[in-house]
């Protein structure tokens, strides 16, 4: 059998080794919790129902909100990891979909060490999948600095955010004409959209367009993060790209998004979201890894048994005994009757009819 273990088990062991504690969510939570923070969620649509006492409940669309609202420590940092199913609308099928998330949250007195450690865990989580991977870093403070420096008026600011997030280089010229931007501004936006893949080169270039104190702090923090991993095997796995965006009502610093080769969308999303905590001096950083597609692509080999015993009218006791003898020797064994071993058993060694 392939020697790969269960991804969930591997990740949970990894997070526990960093002192993170397991967090288990209730199956349902009051709808009001999600309603108050619905713009934090990827969609405001969720599965709701009335509980026996009449309260409107929701089938968990998210985990972060629950942890932030329930587990904020009075002092220090609370570190939690989880593996949970969440239920979200699926555009492709026009219905709800159950997704498995494994992730972590650190909440409380967050500092640069906690953030760097979260980034390290994000890199290690992607590495566990087994394929080629990239972790893309961004920071809302840089993007907002740029948007506010260039854009006058809410409509233009929104268009600029959209142009950066979607890398709409073709729209920059049109927006520039429509809103009579200064000549250099169009070039600035295009340069920020097309930063080089090497992180330090990207940051050197971006630093020319860091407008305001916060944007400059963002560049410094990103540079410190990149440098923290220089000389390690993760150095080449990090990219800087400000197309990674987050809702500015919640996110206030670094953002990250992880990709694995062969999987179409981002598989890991996270960042710094002190504003969600909403308490002076308290912060939060965390990420979620969407594991369904990773498991399907890199861990599905485990469903094949090492040995298939094709039985037919046999002595059941003897059959079970011979299967168990093989299992005792470390093999996985499945019993299939009368040559009906279908495709999913074919990778195993086939033993015919134990009479």
């Amino acid at each position: 059998m392939t020697e790969k273990k269960d991804l969930k088990w591997e990740l949970e062991a990894l997070y526990a080794s960093y002192g993170y504690e397991k967090y288990r969510m209730a199956g349902f939570e009051e709808y009001a919790l999600y309603l108050e923070n619905k713009s934090f969620l990827t969609s405001d649509k969720m599965i709701t129902f009335n509980d026996l006492d009449g309260r409107l409940m929701a089938l968990k669309p998210d985990v972060t909100l629950s942890i932030v609202k329930n587990a904020l420590p009075a002092s220090g940092v609370g570190k939690y990891y989880y593996t949970e199913s969440v239920f979200r609308p699926n555009r492709a099928s026009d219905g709800f979909k159950e997704l498995t998330q494994t992730g972590l949250e650190a909440i409380g007195d967050i500092d640069a060490v906690t953030v760097t450690e979260a980034v390290e865990l994000a890199l290690k989580s992607l590495e566990h999948a087994g394929g080629e991977y990239v972790l893309v870093l961004s920071d809302v403070r840089f993007t907002e600095g740029l948007v506010h420096a260039v854009g006058k008026g809410a409509e233009l600011k929104e268009e600029l955010r959209d142009v950066i997030a979607k890398k709409r280089t073709g729209e920059v010229e049109k927006i520039s004409e429509k809103y009579s931007l200064r000549k250099g501004d169009a070039k600035t936006i295009s340069e920020v959209i097309n930063l080089p893949p090497e992180p330090l080169k990207a940051l050197d270039k971006a630093s020319k367009y860091a407008f305001g104190k916060e944007a400059n702090i963002a560049i410094d923090e990103l540079r410190a993060l990149v440098c923290a991993f220089s000389g390690t095997r993760y150095a080449k796995k990090i990219q800087i790209d400000f197309s990674i965006t987050g809702n500015t009502n919640y996110y206030n610093g670094i953002l990250f998004s992880g990709y694995i080769e062969g999987i179409a969308g981002g598989v890991l999303k996270g960042g710094r979201y002190d504003k969600l905590v909403g308490e002076e001096g308290k912060g939060a950083v965390g990420f979620a890894l969407y594991t369904d597609e990773i498991t399907e692509k890199y861990f599905s080999e485990a469903r094949f048994a090492d040995v298939v015993i094709d039985y037919d009218g046999t002595d059941i006791g003897k059959l079970l005994a011979s299967a168990n003898a093989l299992r005792a020797g470390g093999k996985s064994v499945t019993l299939v009757r009368g040559g009906k071993a279908d495709y999913k058993f074919r990778k195993g060694e086939l033993i015919k009819n134990e009479r």
């Binding site: 990239v134 890398k167 073709g170 999987i263 179409a264 969308g265």
Partner: protein, 209 residues
């Protein structure tokens, strides 16, 4: 690493292939016939022809690394992809059109026939106008002529069909052209190849415009 490209069947595919050959991205443009997948001699690109509305789906799901899609389809379906380049071809306009002589009654619910449901909803929502959408799949101009709708929201290229049917453009909602779109994960892992295609096509487009 070779790049998979989804192209919309029809004129836009022909134009794009011609452009890619001129830019040196493709060695040879094959006759389409009934074939759907084409491997270029260069080994650098593999392209396939799909329905225009399906291009963003192939790109978003990563089957194609990049693709060519009309801005109308991108706006309507809002796929989670990067929009790297305006190819400045396939130009037309998304418009509100009505029969000549039609007078709008702002207090009444406006009946809007269209294939572009989300675009129409978004446009009228931004104006706070109450509408009733009538979703059609083709021959949209027929709806106001048969008094099934007050207006239509549709693409207008030359305006000939409108003229022939005694109709006119009431408002231009957006300028439309073809865009080069990219899958977000492919952009990470095939950056060099995608950058090469984008910059070579971009340089050629700038020369021509």
């Amino acid at each position: 690493m070779s790049v998979n490209i989804a192209l919309p069947k029809g004129r836009l595919a022909d134009k794009t292939l011609e452009l890619m050959k001129k830019a040196g991205i493709l060695k040879k443009v094959e006759d389409a016939g009934r074939k759907l997948v084409f491997e270029d001699e260069s080994g650098f690109v593999r392209y396939f022809l799909v329905k225009p509305w399906d291009v963003p789906v192939y790109v978003e799901r990563g089957v194609a690394d990049i693709g060519v899609a009309g801005k109308d389809i991108i706006t309507e379906n809002t796929p989670d992809v990067y929009e790297l380049l305006d190819l400045k071809t396939g130009k037309c306009r998304m418009c509100v059109c009505a029969k000549n002589g039609y007078v709008d009654r702002p207090g009444a619910t406006l009946r809007v026939a269209t294939k572009f449901v989300n675009t129409a909803k978004g446009y009228y929502a931004s104006m706070g106008r109450r509408i009733e959408i009538i979703k059609l799949n083709g021959s949209i101009e027929l709806a106001p002529l048969m008094d099934m709708s007050d207006v239509i929201v549709d693409l207008v290229e030359t305006g000939t069909t409108l003229k022939e049917n005694d109709m006119r453009v009431v408002t231009i909602i957006a300028e439309i052209s073809a865009r080069l779109i990219a899958n977000k994960a492919s952009y990470r892992f095939k950056r060099e190849e995608i950058d090469r295609i984008t910059s070579e096509l971009g340089a050629l487009i700038n020369e021509n415009n």
